[in-house]
């Protein structure tokens, strides 16, 4: 099993969800995050003082999938989330040792 951690633009979450659904991947965890790679931020002004906003809002989508469909899932996510501009995000892949379903207590393989 692999944990696929995708950090994408907030407005791309629906496209990524659709791409995963097309592969019958429905289970996921989504978190609001802030961060940046090369993308430059912007300046804000509050009451007379300027601030640099460099940590930009993104969404992190975590899915755990079996090894057999991991590559397809990664490809699907990358294509769905891409706009071609700096700030599109990243996908990280981490091995998963075990996974349990809480409702039944069963261990998944």
């Amino acid at each position: 099993m692999k944990l696929i951690k995708a950090i994408v633009r907030p407005n791309k979450v629906d496209d990524v969800k659709d791409a995963l659904a097309a592969l019958s991947i429905f289970g996921m965890t989504v978190t609001e995050v802030r961060g940046h790679g090369k993308q430059k931020g912007h300046t804000a002004i509050y009451r007379g003082k300027e601030y640099n906003v460099s940590l930009l809002p993104k969404m992190e989508i975590d899915v755990v999938v079996s090894d057999s469909i991991a590559d397809d899932a990664i490809k699907g996510i990358v294509e769905a989330a891409r706009t071609g501009e700096i700030g599109d995000g990243r996908v990280f892949v981490i091995p998963v040792l075990e996974s349990y379903r809480i409702r039944t207590g069963e261990k998944e393989s």
Binding site: I45, Y46, R47, G48, K49, E50, Y51
Partner: protein
């Protein structure tokens, strides 16, 4: 606050008017709503870990200052006494009954209306010392301040005291409320000291929609503050209502342009601030000037206040929510411009100002502003220093870093996910 005359009341023999009473009943409720409005205006501007504490600083005034006003403050402000301060003849509301001896509304209602002014004036000061002042010290300060500073200053201007004798014009509280609180705020920011991390860290508003909502409630309530100060449901109240609509509008226009010159974009926080600045500036003038003068006054007042705000942002004085720029500078500007635009042809009970043949009025206004600055500034300093001997004015460094909501009140404002607090069933 002046219907027929600066600091005076209508002839004592007038019968009670149902219309006037109805309007002032409504105005009292409107002004009371301004204190919660202020709470949210301020609350949205602070970080989320301090929002409850900031709200509490306004809400608590409704209790302590409100009751103190009835018990003692009203008497010191409005009973006979001398030119400096009233006496004790109305303490515990003795002699303050349901008859309309002071004007066309029941005396008790007049007391209540004035009380809502005292409540919000005290709460205004909190903006300068949010996110670091110890709640117990703050509460002690505003209670003492209401009695020792607010009541006498009110007496000077509206209670028949020396500034009214001098002919100073203050329709609804430019000096009594805004310059008064603004100077106290300046002193408090100086004595209490700056927040950890100011000015290098990002100490940013956590909820700008609250700020706009707060500004909206303030504007709504301000119609009671200004138009209610006519103490009658009549033409002067209507005039004050319209100037209270137009002046902040003009301030908002000018402020938008100033924001765009400075950064290319008008801002929401700036707009909310502009509205408050305009309301503050028109407060001393509301029933004394023409509507077009109000537009000019509102537009002009944007400039010194915007400039004061820029100055504060560059200075080491952490007047966190710009009480000085909005209320101190705004109130003083409005008070002085009252001396320019006041027109006896509009309101026979007022004086006239510079533009209508009486340049001396400007001098009188400046005198009033200076006197309030000196007294409020000096006394606020003394009170804070005295209180500081008994109660530390600041929360501890650790308390400030953790957040005042948890450390001063044991509460968190935003518990989004259940299960992060477990009940102590032991």
């Amino acid at each position: 606050m002046c219907g027929a005359g600066a600091g005076g009341f209508t002839d004592g023999g007038r019968a009670m008017s149902g219309a006037d009473t109805a309007w002032i009943l409504m105005s009292t409720a409107l002004v009371l709503l301004m204190t919660p409005g202020l709470a949210f205006f301020y609350g949205g501007l602070v970080r989320s870990k301090n929002v409850l504490n900031t709200l509490m600083m306004s809400f608590i005034s409704l209790g302590f200052v409100g009751v103190l006003w009835a018990v003692l403050g009203y008497s010191l402000a409005f009973s006979g006494g001398n030119s400096f301060v009233g006496g004790f003849s109305n303490a515990l509301l003795a002699g303050v009954g349901l008859e309309a001896t002071l004007g066309s509304i029941p005396d008790l209602l007049f007391m209540a209306f004035q009380g809502t002014f005292c409540i919000i004036t005290a709460a205004l000061i909190s903006g300068a010392i949010v996110e670091r002042m110890r709640f117990s010290a703050y509460l002690t300060f505003i209670c003492l301040w209401a009695i020792v500073v607010y009541a006498p200053v009110t007496h000077w201007v509206w209670g028949g005291g020396w500034l009214s004798e001098l002919g100073a014009l203050d329709f609804a509280g430019g000096t009594v409320v805004h310059v008064n609180a603004g100077v106290a705020a300046l002193v408090a920011a100086f004595v209490v000291g700056k927040r950890q991390g100011y000015p290098s860290s990002s100490l940013l508003p956590h909820n700008v929609p609250f700020v706009l909502l707060g500004a909206a409630l303030l504007w709504f309530g301000w119609f009671g503050f200004n138009a209610g100060s006519a103490l009658a449901a009549d033409e002067i109240a209507s005039l004050a209502f319209v100037t209270t609509m137009l002046a902040p509008g003009a301030t908002l226009i000018v402020w938008c342009f100033l924001d765009m010159i400075r950064s290319g974009r008008p801002t929401a926080v700036g707009s909310a601030t502009a509205i408050v600045v305009g309301l503050v500036a028109v407060t001393p003038a509301a029933g004394f000037i023409s509507p077009m003068s109000a537009v000019l006054l509102g537009g002009i007042a944007a400039l010194p206040c915007y400039f004061a705000l820029m100055l504060r942002a560059k200075s080491s004085l952490d007047d966190s929510l710009d009480v000085v720029a909005a209320h101190g500078v705004g109130g003083a500007t409005g008070a002085i411009l009252t001396g320019v635009f006041a027109d006896m042809a509009i309101n026979g009970g007022s004086g006239s100002g510079l533009l209508f043949g009486n340049p001396g009025q400007v001098v009188t206004q400046v005198t009033a502003v200076a006197a309030v600055i000196a007294y409020s500034g000096g006394m606020s300093f003394i009170l804070l220093k005295l209180i500081g001997v008994v109660i530390p004015l600041r929360a501890s460094e650790e308390e400030e870093a953790t957040g005042l909501d948890i450390t001063q009140h044991g509460e968190e404002a935003y518990l989004h996910v259940g299960g992060t607090l477990t009940p102590n069933n032991g």
